[in-house]
């Protein structure tokens, strides 16, 4: 009997500490500044325990009965605390208020536990032994919890399920207390059924926890997530708000269906319309098929070869009805050939020649992607250009990443081509930049395909004008052995986000 009692002490102490650690970790994850979060949470919690201890003197009757109730309450509040906090962060403004309230409620309840328990059992043993044993097991429980939490619980169960698991333990303590203190309790059947209900509710929570975090994550993106998948290469997320579909790759916005026509018309037509008889076109990247949609507006184009790394991406934009609605089933055209390959080695080993080459890669956020913006890469691409051919390069924003933009332009120039930088305003992106390049002087087009919404002959020259805040800067070229672009890009975006 004695040892069961003290295991109870050990467990309730562990539960209390786990709730506190969960709150501290969650706050650090979601709000940052872990020193502040942990300090204030530990402070509040210890202070609330003090309040609980002080309040314990006002409980005079039915000690065992109230102890069981406190354990049950702790099981419910503590067990669901993490799930509640996740949802509160995603759906409300009151995350911090809720968090500190929960910490105080849990602290008060935990503060009540030990004084009550000591009073319940004081007649069974010497007071000297009660104090010694209760406090020993209390501290042992704390040690156990603080070791379990980082090593097993967080990595294997996560925050939501760890809290639920310890909620179940709390409720289990309540349940077996009804046997340990049976002689001091009336109506044990009611109490026991209540305990079973709480344990069942928490068990359901434990199993369904994934859905709760999922629901919370959905809300961290502004709009409803309609598709999310981790492919071998990237994290693809599609969101929808009314008629606006957005594609995110590794959380970077790729397009918004409301204004992507501006981006893709500007990417394709100034170049492709300027080529006398374009027959063969190459697209590097552009797995959404939107650039290909624009290219297919030219009946003279006999074949479009698209090289994109990720087969799941091109499959998605070939088969999903909502997305093929956006790219007008461009990947299903018999003129289009999709190749899933890493672009640089493909360009390096393939020997075909093309009249127009579109390079539409993700921004150079790391050294791997940075290779696709080097002199060596552009030289390799240039070998595929036909005599009168042109290529166009997605080149980040000349407004937000001005150094990067002009670095890319310089890199293409040093790869031995004539360059014609231009830019376009895309509301969901801001000012966006492209570089047209070729072996010969670029002559703007004299006609365009019918039905364009953004590019027209009259306003096209304006795209090639850069106002002072985006004007050319003298930048070094980006090379494989000296990738200055990745540093510039990093710095450019840091400058505007702080």
């Amino acid at each position: 009997m004695g040892i069961l009692l003290f295991i109870t002490v050990l467990l309730i102490s562990a539960c209390g500490l786990i709730y506190e650690l969960v709150a501290g970790t969650l706050a650090s994850y979601l709000l940052g500044d872990s020193v502040l979060q942990f300090s204030t949470i530990i402070g509040c919690y210890l202070f609330a325990m003090g309040i609980g201890s002080a309040l314990s003197r006002y409980i005079n009757r039915g000690l065992a009965y109230r102890f069981v109730w406190i354990e049950l309450l702790l099981g419910v509040v503590g067990g669901f605390s993490s799930a509640l906090l996740f949802l509160a962060f995603a759906y409300s403004q009151g995350f911090q208020l809720l968090m500190y309230s929960l910490v105080i409620v849990i602290g008060v309840l935990v503060g009540l536990e030990i004084p009550l328990l000591m009073r319940i059992i004081r007649d069974r043993y010497h007071f000297r032994d009660v104090v010694a044993h209760v406090l020993t097991f209390d501290y042992l429980g704390a040690l156990g919890a603080s070791l379990l939490f980082p090593i097993l619980l967080v990595p294997h169960l996560g925050l939501v399920r760890s809290a639920m698991l310890f909620g179940i333990l709390n409720a289990a303590v309540a349940l077996w207390s009804t046997w340990i203190f049976a002689n001091q309790l009336a109506r044990t059947v009611v109490l026991r059924s209540l305990c079973v209900v709480v344990i069942a509710a928490l068990c359901i929570g434990l199993v369904e926890a994934k859905r709760i975090t999922q629901a919370a994550e959905d809300n961290i993106y502004a709009d409803e997530i309609i598709f999310a998948r981790d492919t071998h290469y990237q994290h693809i997320v599609l969101t929808r708000f009314k008629d606006d579909i957005r594609l995110f790759l590794n959380s970077h916005l790729q397009f918004s269906s409301r204004d992507e026509y501006r981006y893709h018309e500007a990417l394709i037509h100034p170049g492709l319309s300027a080529i006398a008889a374009p027959r063969r076109v190459l697209v590097l990247g552009g797995g959404d098929g939107l650039a290909v949609r624009e290219i297919l507006k030219y009946p003279q184009v006999e074949s479009v070869t698209l090289v994109d790394l990720d087969p799941e991406m091109t499959r998605l934009f070939t088969t999903n009805p909502m997305l093929t609605g956006l790219n007008q089933k461009s990947f299903l055209s018999p003129r289009v050939h999709v190749i899933n390959a890493d672009a640089f080695p493909w360009v390096d080993t393939n020997t075909d020649s093309f009249d127009f080459i579109v390079i539409d890669f993700p921004d150079p956020t790391n050294y791997s992607l940075g290779k696709l913006y080097t002199t060596t890469f552009y030289k390799a691409v240039a070998r595929h250009l036909s005599e009168q051919g042109l290529m166009v390069v997605q080149s980040t924003s000349p407004m937000f990443a001005r150094d990067s933009y002009w670095c890319i332009a310089e890199t293409i120039k040093q790869a031995g081509m004539l360059t014609y930088p231009y830019h376009v305003y895309v509301p969901s992106f801001g000012e966006w930049g492209f570089v047209l390049a070729g072996h010969h002087e670029y002559r703007p087009p004299t006609s365009l395909p019918a039905g364009l919404r953004f590019v027209d002959l009259k306003t096209m020259p304006a795209l090639f004008q850069f106002p002072p805040d985006m004007a050319p800067l003298s930048m070094p070229a980006n090379r494989l052995n000296d990738q200055v672009l990745v540093h510039l890009y990093d710095q450019d975006w840091k400058d505007i986000s702080h």
Partner: protein, 488 residues
């Protein structure tokens, strides 16, 4: 709770390219079979490492093709040998060449010949890609190997003073690659003390700086800074002033250069031919290898020079040549370990480790996405006596080295055991010459290095230390000497 213990994946592998057995036959003066045939060849090159292959390249390029190159191992290349598996080619030892300066005329000529240098421009895909190097210290990675984080005011001041000193040495033009070009009697003093002592004389007591100096000596010479001549320590820093961000490297390391050389001289290279005796016979030399006796006008001895007294009849034992034992390993990774804070680099070094870190064979890929790779792990057994380390190298089994390597890597990649599927280990008892105190200005080294007679020494160890440019220089110089005198 459904927590199943993860079982450790099986790691296979073993020792590869062992060649000490053949060496020990020579050392123990074993009996070799008598020759069954005689072959008359004007020039015989002994040893198919970079020195021997460079001699062959020079002869061949001058239109002289009447020679043979005899290589003991089944694969030519010596310290520039390479391997290949289904993932990538990878080096077994030497894995890069610093971008050569103007004085390295023979290396520049070679690089023009094999497409590395075109119209005065270095081929970009052979220059090491960004990010080149990283160092693990204080529990995190930094870019570059020279420690740059956590420096005290005094560390910085000492780094600055050291750089000023090196700058002065560089300005004298007496420290060059190849070393022969600038070699000056005036610096003999520097060969009388160790690099560690010289640093002490300069009042450089920074722990960080001394770690870095010691690392550089272990990396280039296989010796600690107190085993290295101060002249050689200074040579390491003062001899290079690259015109381009380098170094030059390839997936198979310097094996790529060997491949290009073999494309040219391959038919004249005979592998698996251990030379066991060389005898002067009037004006000619007899070279015994396998079942053949070669009768040559000139022999270019490009094998490590310490072997010479065991092969050449009548040669006195050598006194100054010391060699460093090394261990390299190639690790096959079926997935990349988690790496926090930096993009993976070409070369990764861990501070305060007895090893030299590892190099990634797929770093020079043009791909943006890599799932599997091969790492070459380098370990110069520098601490303590070379002979003791050689015994350790031979007496410890493969799993001893496997565990030692994994322990070292685990400090920086906790999940490494989950990533590696194979570890092949290569043991080299005499991997490279050690530029010990007094070795650079020793009369023995200098007289062997000077080509005379019809037996020409060409190994890089004649420079006192084993680096690509020295091997190539010695090979080419010996070939030119022979070319001028050989009867055609």
């Amino acid at each position: 709770m459904g927590l199943a213990a993860k079982s450790e994946p099986q790691i296979i592998g073993g020792f590869v390219n062992d060649s000490f057995q053949q060496g020990h036959l020579l050392r123990d003066r074993a009996a070799f079979p008598s020759p069954k045939r005689i072959e008359k060849v004007p020039i015989v090159i002994v040893g198919g490492g970079i020195a021997g292959l460079s001699a062959a390249w020079r002869l061949h390029k001058s239109g002289f093709k009447d020679f043979v190159l005899l290589e003991m191992c089944d694969q030519a290349g010596g310290n520039a040998r390479w391997g290949e598996n289904e993932i990538t080619a990878y080096p077994w030892a030497a894995h890069y060449v610093p971008v050569p300066g103007r004085k390295a005329i023979y290396v520049r000529e070679l690089f023009e010949d094999i497409g590395v240098l075109k119209d005065g421009k270095w081929e970009e895909r052979f220059l090491c890609f960004t990010p080149q190097e990283r160092l693990f210290l204080y529990g995190r990675w930094q870019e570059g190997i020279e420690p740059a984080i956590g420096l005290t005011q005094s560390d910085r001041e000492q780094f600055r003073r050291f750089e000023e000193q090196i700058h002065r040495f560089r300005e004298t033009g007496k420290f060059t690659v190849p070393m022969e070009m600038g070699f000056s009697e005036g610096n003999a003093e520097l060969d009388r003390i160790s690099f560690a002592d010289w640093l002490r004389e300069q009042r450089i007591d920074s722990h960080t700086l001394n770690w870095y100096m010691n690392y550089c000596c272990r990396d280039d010479y296989g010796a600690t800074s107190d085993q290295t001549s101060a002249w050689a320590g200074i040579q390491y820093f003062a001899s290079r002033e690259p015109e381009e961000k380098g170094p030059l490297t390839w997936p198979e390391g310097n094996g790529w250069i060997v491949r290009r050389l073999l494309e040219r001289v391959g038919p004249l290279v005979r592998t698996g031919q251990m030379v066991h005796r060389i005898v002067q016979n009037g004006s000619r030399l007899k070279v015994f290898a396998g079942d053949a006796e070669y009768q040559a006008e000139f022999v270019i001895f490009a094998a490590p020079t310490f072997l010479a007294p065991y092969l050449i009849e009548g040669m006195m034992p050598l006194r100054t040549f010391e060699y460093s034992p090394w261990l390299t390993a190639n690790l096959t990774l079926d997935r990349m370990p988690r790496s926090y804070g930096t993009d993976p680099t070409w070369d990764s070094v861990f501070m305060e480790s007895p090893t030299l870190g590892y190099v990634d064979a797929t770093h020079q890929t043009l791909r943006t996405h890599v799932d599997r790779t091969v790492w070459t792990f380098y370990w110069a057994l520098a601490e303590g006596s070379a002979s003791q380390n050689r015994r350790l190298l031979l007496s410890s089994d493969w799993s001893y080295w496997k565990e030692a390597i994994l322990h070292d890597l685990e400090r920086v990649h906790p999940d490494i055991r989950q990533c590696v599927s194979r570890i092949d280990v290569m043991r080299m008892g005499h991997a490279m010459a050690r530029p010990t105190v007094g070795s650079i200005f020793s009369t023995e080294r200098r007289s062997l290095a000077k080509p005379h007679g019809n037996l020409l020494f060409a190994n890089s160890d004649l420079s006192g230390f084993s680096i690509f440019e020295e091997a190539q220089y010695r090979g080419v110089v010996a070939a030119e000497h022979a070319l001028r005198r050989v009867s055609r």
